[in-house]
């Protein structure tokens, strides 16, 4: 059951990746990478349940946090051309 | 006061994540929460007033309506994406808001993004710029339904 759902989401990742590679503007790419990150959070949670080891939720939580910070860092660079 | 509240919030978050209560872990939790609170208490918790508790309950009462709107919004996005002709006519809408606090503006922006057919692009002082996916949704934003609900929470 969980691996079936994970496969569906990974097929979705392929579509999003297509947009990340082709994307006419840089903002399309940022949005796509953000979506890949959110899908990765879900897949890691699902894999934890596939192995009957739901302690993996810690990694999913870390990823949810890091993904948000990464997106903001990309945007800050694009807007201001610097990070501080 | 702000410092102590931040410290308590961080400590509660630590114990929610770790779930262990041995001596070493509790000590290190207190130390790390102190360090983190020292660095962050200025960014966290803008205004503390005990009228805020009432607002939290009002906000919780607002959530079911929001969740229903989110489901409607998603069914609509699914319909737009999966229908072969793509019935869209995007438009930018600009409106004013009467909300005062930053929390209220954040809640409004996120609610607009999650409800049907509209995404917040910019909130600057009291101006909101919204991207609506069809003309009807642009009209909905001008009617300010969401804003009235959040104004009632803020009051």
């Amino acid at each position: 059951m969980f691996s079936f759902i994970a496969v569906i989401i990974l097929i979705g990742v392929f579509f999003v990746l297509f947009r990340a590679i082709k994307g006419p503007t840089i903002f399309d790419r940022v949005l796509s990478v953000n979506l890949i990150g959110t899908k990765a959070v879900v897949v890691i949670a699902l894999i934890g349940f596939m192995h009957n080891r739901p302690e993996f939720m810690d990694i999913a939580l870390t990823y949810a946090l890091i993904n948000f910070i990464g997106t903001i860092a990309f945007l800050k660079y694009i807007e201001k051309n610097r990070l501080d | 006061m702000k410092f102590i509240l931040t410290f308590i919030a961080l400590l509660i978050f630590w114990f929610m994540l770790s779930g262990h209560f041995s001596v070493i872990i509790v000590t290190s939790a207190v130390i790390y929460a102190l360090i983190a609170a020292y660095f962050t208490y200025n960014y966290f918790l803008e205004d503390i007033s005990f009228a805020g508790i009432k607002r939290i309950f009002k906000f919780i009462a607002y959530l079911p309506w929001l969740f229903w709107e989110i489901i409607v919004a998603n069914l609509q996005v699914a319909y737009i994406v999966l229908s072969p002709k793509m019935p869209i006519s995007p438009e930018l809408v600009e409106t004013e808001t009467d909300l005062k606090t930053d929390y209220g503006k954040t809640a409004l922006g996120n609610s607009i993004t999650l409800t049907p057919g509209t995404v917040t692009i910019e909130i600057e002082n009291s101006k909101i710029l919204v991207h609506a996916i069809t003309k009807e949704h642009a009209q909905d934003i001008k009617n300010k339904d969401i804003e009235k609900k959040i104004l009632r929470i803020e009051a």
């Binding site: 503007t25 903002f27 939580l61 694009i78 | 779930g19 998603n74 996005v77 994406v81 996120n110 692009i121």
Partner: protein, 105 residues
């Protein structure tokens, strides 16, 4: 199959359906701002439903508490990230797409 398993399965299938819709929308929609609708809404609800399904499957425990934290965080962070990207794109001078001048696709 108990009733909880059925609820879990329904929530997981609905969630993965919405996430797939978000991905297809990323390909099919014509410009950045409309893609944002797919990415901002469908993906948020899809993730939320999947985590809700996993919470139902797990029952009441520490793990489900963590998943509820992720659930709340998603509903705050995902629209905020979408809004941040949109603001950057608007400031960067990206024009919106309409039926009349469909050159930016």
């Amino acid at each position: 199959m108990s009733i909880l398993d059925v609820v879990t399965l329904i929530l997981l299938l609905a969630g993965s359906f919405f996430m797939l819709v978000a991905s297809i929308g990323m390909i099919r929609l014509p410009d950045f701002y409309t893609r944002m609708h797919a990415g901002g809404k469908a993906d948020t609800l899809g993730q939320g439903l999947i985590f809700l399904g996993l919470v139902v499957y797990e029952g009441f425990s520490f793990i489900s508490l963590k998943m509820l934290i992720i659930f709340v965080f998603i509903f705050i962070a995902n629209p905020t990230a979408t809004h941040a990207v949109a603001k950057a794109a608007y400031k960067g001078g990206l024009k919106i797409w309409s039926r009349d001048n469909n050159d930016s696709g």
